[in-house]
């Protein structure tokens, strides 16, 4: 996330579970890039793979989607 923020010329807020993603410093395009890069690394895009696509609001939600997606 740090790297993407840097690439997009943004600065990142400290990551805590209750951090609202839209306040993190990355915008939607930044998150789209993050999801694509993670899929490149992990081989999975849990948002697209999952039937009930819930939109993550906080950083904790975001991490949970990946934890659940890994099962």
């Amino acid at each position: 996330m740090d790297q993407i923020a840097r690439e997009h010329g943004k600065s990142l807020a400290p990551l805590r579970d209750d951090l609202v993603l839209l306040d993190s410093g990355l915008d939607s395009l930044g998150f789209a890039v993050l999801v694509a890069r993670l899929e490149d690394k992990l081989g999975v895009d849990p948002f697209t793979a999952s039937e009930d696509a819930l939109f993550p609001v906080t950083f904790g939600d975001f991490v949970k989607v990946y934890e659940n997606g890994a099962h």
Binding site: V20, L22, L29, V35, A36, F47
Partner: protein, 465 residues
């Protein structure tokens, strides 16, 4: 009052108090019945070709109501217009006057004989000229590289999808989608003709604040692109609104976003509309599913006729634009059908969208031509060829990804060294793209591949999108 004939916008102004809201301003647009936001300078603008280049959407909204029926033509400058194209726009639309406001970043760029300031405060006016003529409305497309095409509409065509339909009295419209684009302009016109208030966004306004305002003003009907809606659903402030009509347009809506919106607003009708600047609004789908029923095709519905030819959707419609202002190519074919360039596939009894002809990628409403990105990647000395394509993204609908074939030398070193080398080359390519391209065009991921498919024509084999 239900009008079935299109009159000028000023005729529709109701007697009740109705407002345009943005982050800073509340403009009682019903005051325009006997007032002006243009300093009462309508006499000067009579019969002129006027460029509306305000910084705020709200100022554009007020200016359009005043100019309609007075000016010969108004051209709406979209917020993301490239200053390099300003001269071509002025020439193409034969512009002789410009309307600006205090927020116009473009303001200084236009050196025109008549320059009118638009104020958000509506001043009482003496005698204003009566709106008598049919004003041409010109919108700019976002689908091309280079100078945008200028598309000519009439008020009758722009309002045909909803004119004369009854409007529930407590309706309050809101839009995430800028009214200086076709989809957003539809909502501005629906609000004015329906005699209801409209909540607009301001440049740079955080989504949370915008949602908060929408909630405070009691929005009942709300438009956004799928990307706008995905961003809204990621905000905790989504809980502040409870619209009863949720509309998506401007991009293809996928099943995930429709399901998420149904989940977030179980009481609301969730509708995705298909429209283009050229073809106008073609249809609206309210059954909750992506794509559209096959029965929409090969018949006339609501005056609009659709067919599929060579896999692309074609539309013949009284809501379509009448012509391009400057381009040589005609807007429609000999039979009056506009080729949308949107490719569709029949699956069972439903058509689904399969991307754009030529692989054009839509990132949150901004179009990306793969060739433009490939040209930048191919500048890298170690790149033999590249293919830029779209990849589905849960956040923005799609992202740009690149498949790259490298010249042999890189891969011939030892495994570990090759991995490091590949990482470095990928990083180099990304940097090259970031330096040369706006951010939505920079690939989100780069994949090094051994080869790319080349079609019989000798061109790269592209899927639709």
């Amino acid at each position: 009052m239900a009008h079935t004939e299109a009159q000028s916008l000023r005729h529709y102004i109701a007697s009740e108090e109705r407002f345009f809201f943005d982050r800073h301003t509340r403009a009682r647009f019903t005051d325009l019945a006997g007032g002006t936001s243009l300093g009462g300078r309508l006499e000067e603008l009579t019969g002129k070709s006027v460029l509306v280049a305000t910084g705020s959407q709200l100022a554009t909204a007020l200016a359009l109501i005043e100019l309609d029926g007075i000016a010969r033509r108004f051209t709406i400058l979209p917020p993301d217009a490239d200053p390099e194209h300003f001269a071509a726009i002025v020439t193409g639309a034969d512009v002789d006057a410009v309307v600006v406001d205090q927020n116009s970043t473009a303001s200084a760029a236009f050196d025109l004989p008549i320059r009118v300031a638009c104020a958000a405060e509506i001043a009482a006016a003496g005698r204003l000229p009566a709106p008598t003529r049919q004003t041409e409305g010109v919108m700019l497309t976002s689908g091309t590289t280079g100078v945008p095409k200028m598309v000519v509409h009439t008020l009758a065509g722009l309002t045909a999808a909803f004119r004369g339909r009854p409007v529930v009295d407590d309706t309050v419209w809101g839009t995430f989608y800028d009214i200086r684009r076709y989809g957003g302009l539809q909502i501005f016109l629906r609000a004015v003709l329906g005699g209801v208030s409209l909540i607009l966004s301001s440049a740079g306004e955080p989504i949370g604040e915008h949602l908060d305002r929408l909630g405070r003003h009691g929005v009942t009907h709300l438009l956004g692109t799928p990307t706008h809606w995905r961003r809204a659903l990621m905000s905790p402030a989504i809980l502040r609104i409870s619209p009863r009509y949720v509309r998506l347009s401007g991009e293809i809506a996928d099943q995930a976003i429709l399901d998420s919106l149904h989940g977030a607003f179980p009481q609301a009708v969730v509708s995705h509309a298909y429209a283009s600047t050229e073809a106008g609004v073609a249809f609206e789908v309210r059954d909750g599913f992506a794509g559209f029923p096959a029965e929409f095709v090969d018949r006339v519905r609501d005056g609009v006729e659709m067919k599929v030819a060579q896999d692309s959707l074609r539309i013949r419609s009284p809501r379509a634009a009448s012509r391009y202002l400057s381009a040589d190519a005609p807007l429609a074919d000999q039979d009056g059908f506009v080729d949308t360039g949107d490719m569709v596939e029949l699956r069972g009894d439903r058509y689904v969208f399969a991307g754009r002809r030529g692989g054009i990628i839509n990132i949150g409403g901004l179009k990306v031509h793969p060739e433009e990105v490939e040209a930048v990647i191919n500048r890298h000395p170690q790149v033999r060829m590249s293919l830029v394509r779209s990849k589905a993204s849960p956040i923005t609908g799609s992202v740009v990804v690149a498949d790259v074939v490298l010249k042999d030398a890189v891969l011939k070193s030892s495994a570990d060294a090759a991995m490091n080398e590949l990482g470095r080359v990928k990083g180099d390519i990304l940097k090259l793209c970031r330096d040369a391209l706006p951010r939505q065009k920079v690939p989100a991921a780069i994949r090094i591949v051994a080869s790319l498919d080349v079609a019989a024509t000798g061109k790269l084999a592209r899927r639709y999108g």
